[in-house]
């Protein structure tokens, strides 16, 4: 990795407290352009909280977040999304009464700033529909394009989560356990799709499935009790006895 490039996303001393409980403390995290970085750590380590901080769902109690050269700490959730920060949720957060197609159409409209257009009927926006169909096709959701989201099986809803994030054509993609609930063969495919995204997109993903983590990440950060325990290549991490002890158990063996 060339050190000269400015990182896409960088945090400095980031922390948040819930009352007396420090969920995230003093995190310095760097995401290079084109990164394929995994964030792992025990349950309750603060991974989701960290993503919530990055996307602006939560306000940090300390520290700052930079996107490129810009300090985005004060920006709201939606502003951050509009400048290229997309995410998926650990627990499905979809539009239950819309169809997958209109969900994606909506996401594209929001991305292109069309969503405040009130004078032009939706159905005239053919390019948007074409793009939405293409995206659904890539995630093999095209057959379900017109089924209400609420009637989709869980796994399909997981896919739609990712489709929604991808529809935003983000610069940075934050994925919170994207493959949870997706069958193994499909989760592999899913990650293929993700890793084939243009190289200028930086990706940070949380995942408890070590097969996926070790297959698709180029760097891994380990979060324990709210702070970064260690960071390194998959090989380093798999060999780290502390990580094994608190998180991997024997699962890392195969990747050691």
């Amino acid at each position: 990795m060339t050190g000269s490039r400015t990182p896409s996303l960088r945090t400095r001393g980031l922390g948040v407290r819930f009352g007396a409980f420090a969920a995230v403390t003093d995190v310095d995290l760097t995401l290079e352009p084109g990164a394929r970085q995994a964030l792992i750590g025990p349950n309750g380590a603060g991974k989701t909280t960290l993503i919530n901080l990055l996307t602006g769902v939560l306000r940090p109690t300390s520290g700052s977040i930079h996107l490129g050269d810009r300090d985005i700490t004060p920006l709201s959730c939606d502003r951050r999304a509009r400048i290229g920060l997309a995410r998926t949720f650990q627990i499905n957060t979809l539009f239950p009464s819309l169809t997958p197609l209109s969900s994606i159409v909506l996401a594209i409209c929001e991305r292109d700033g069309l969503a405040s257009t009130w004078w032009c009927p939706l159905r005239r926006m053919t390019p948007v529909y074409d793009e939405a169909h293409a995206l659904l096709g890539r995630l093999k959701l095209d057959a379900l394009a017109d089924t209400p989201v609420s009637a989709l099986a869980y796994g399909k809803q997981r896919l739609l989560e990712i489709a929604l994030a991808m529809a935003a054509k983000p610069r940075i993609l934050l994925l919170d356990e994207p493959a949870a609930g997706v069958p193994e063969d499909e989760s592999g495919e899913l990650f293929e799709v993700i890793s084939e995204l243009p190289q200028d997109i930086s990706i940070l993903f949380i995942e408890h499935d070590m097969n996926l983590v070790f297959r698709f990440s180029r760097r891994i950060s380990v979060l324990v009790s709210g702070s970064v325990l260690t960071e390194g290549t998959p090989r380093d991490i798999a060999a780290n006895p502390r990580v094994r002890e608190v998180y991997l158990g024997t699962a890392g063996a195969a990747h050691g």
């Binding site: 996307t55 959730c77 949720f89 009464s97 996401a107 969503a115 009130w118 009927p121 159905r123 935003a168």
Partner: protein, 320 residues
């Protein structure tokens, strides 16, 4: 129960038929024209509420604030010498859009119950203000002495309510088409998205509050036009136009018709007001009992109001 299926391409024709039937009621019920005009007006009012409630998800029991404000705006304009009808509508629209935009800052934040109470509070405060400013508004005695000029300078408002009917019909249809267009636009889709999941909307970069403010402002403007129509066609503005009870009544009408369904407001107004009229004619003292039973029966038989029931009976199929 098997649903009747109609191709989706037919829907615009069904809509056209609906409006045609409404227009034809002029010949079918020639001595109920005032009722029909008021049904149209309340239908429009309910549709405006639906934009806020059914689409933007802002639980409000204070929408009469805009209805009443529109009525007073149009009424006062006419009363003070400018009695041309369309300018009254325009004034009401502008005033209510502004008021709606201002109030939207109070309303879009917070949870459902908060919004409910804030809208009620604002509505009650405005009603109280109208009462206090009795010198201008006539207070509880109502604003009298409105005499509208003929529509297009030709059609005077007559005793039979013919002009009032056509005037209301035209304006309501025009406003309805605007609302329909808005709801079928990307903005309308965004509203449905917010209704479903605010969190997800934020995550796809939607400035949710701004969207809601715009929707609320729209909705207020349409409600204002409805209020202005009532003021102009009755040539009177009662303080009830702006009160809590009217807000609650229109909510009942909308819920009966079905929220978030575009035609829910119109359907609700037609059914509620006709049923009310029939029951009140049969039994002026205890029509409330029968209306209550009717409402209970309506909920028990079909959730989601009349349109909800219809959508279960009639399915659509075909291309989008």
């Amino acid at each position: 129960m098997k649903a009747l299926t109609i191709p989706r391409d037919w829907l615009p024709w069904v809509e056209a038929l609906f409006w045609l039937a409404l227009a034809c009621s002029f010949f079918l019920m020639p001595d109920k024209l005032t009722l029909l005009s008021q049904i149209l007006i309340f239908g429009l009012f309910a549709v405006s509420l639906d934009m806020a409630l059914g689409y933007a998800g802002i639980l409000t029991v204070g929408h009469a604030a805009f209805f009443g404000m529109g009525a007073y705006a149009a009424g006062l304009l006419a009363r003070h010498g400018w009695a041309e009808p369309f300018s009254g509508l325009l004034l009401a629209l502008i005033v209510c859009a502004l008021l709606g935009y201002l109030l939207s800052y109070l309303v879009v934040r917070g949870a459902d119950l908060t919004r409910l109470m804030i809208t009620i509070g604002v509505c009650v405060l405005l009603a109280e203000l109208a009462n206090r400013l009795g010198g201008i508004t006539g207070g509880t005695d109502g604003l009298q002495g409105i005499e509208m000029r003929p529509v297009f300078g030709r059609f005077a408002f007559d005793l039979w309510g013919r002009t009032a009917f056509f005037y209301s019909f035209g304006v309501v249809l025009a406003m309805f088409l605007v609302v329909r267009r808005v709801l079928h636009s990307p903005f309308g889709l965004a509203l449905r998205g917010i209704h479903d999941s605010r969190k997800r909307m934020l995550a796809i970069g939607s400035p949710v509050e701004a969207r809601l403010r715009l929707a609320y402002c729209f909705s207020a403007a349409v409600a204002g036009v409805a209020g202005a129509l009532l003021a102009q066609t009755t040539q009177f503005v009662g303080i009830e136009s702006i009160g809590f009870n009217r807000s609650a009544e229109i909510l009942i009408i909308l819920v009966l018709g079905g929220t978030g369904r575009l035609y829910g407001g119109m359907a609700g107004a037609i059914v509620y007001m006709l049923v009310h009229d029939v029951f009140a004619d049969i039994d002026p003292q205890f029509w409330m009992f029968w209306l209550g039973i009717f409402l209970i029966a309506a909920v028990m038989l079909g959730r989601g109001g009349i349109m909800g029931m219809l959508s279960r009976l009639v399915a659509t199929r075909g291309a989008k």
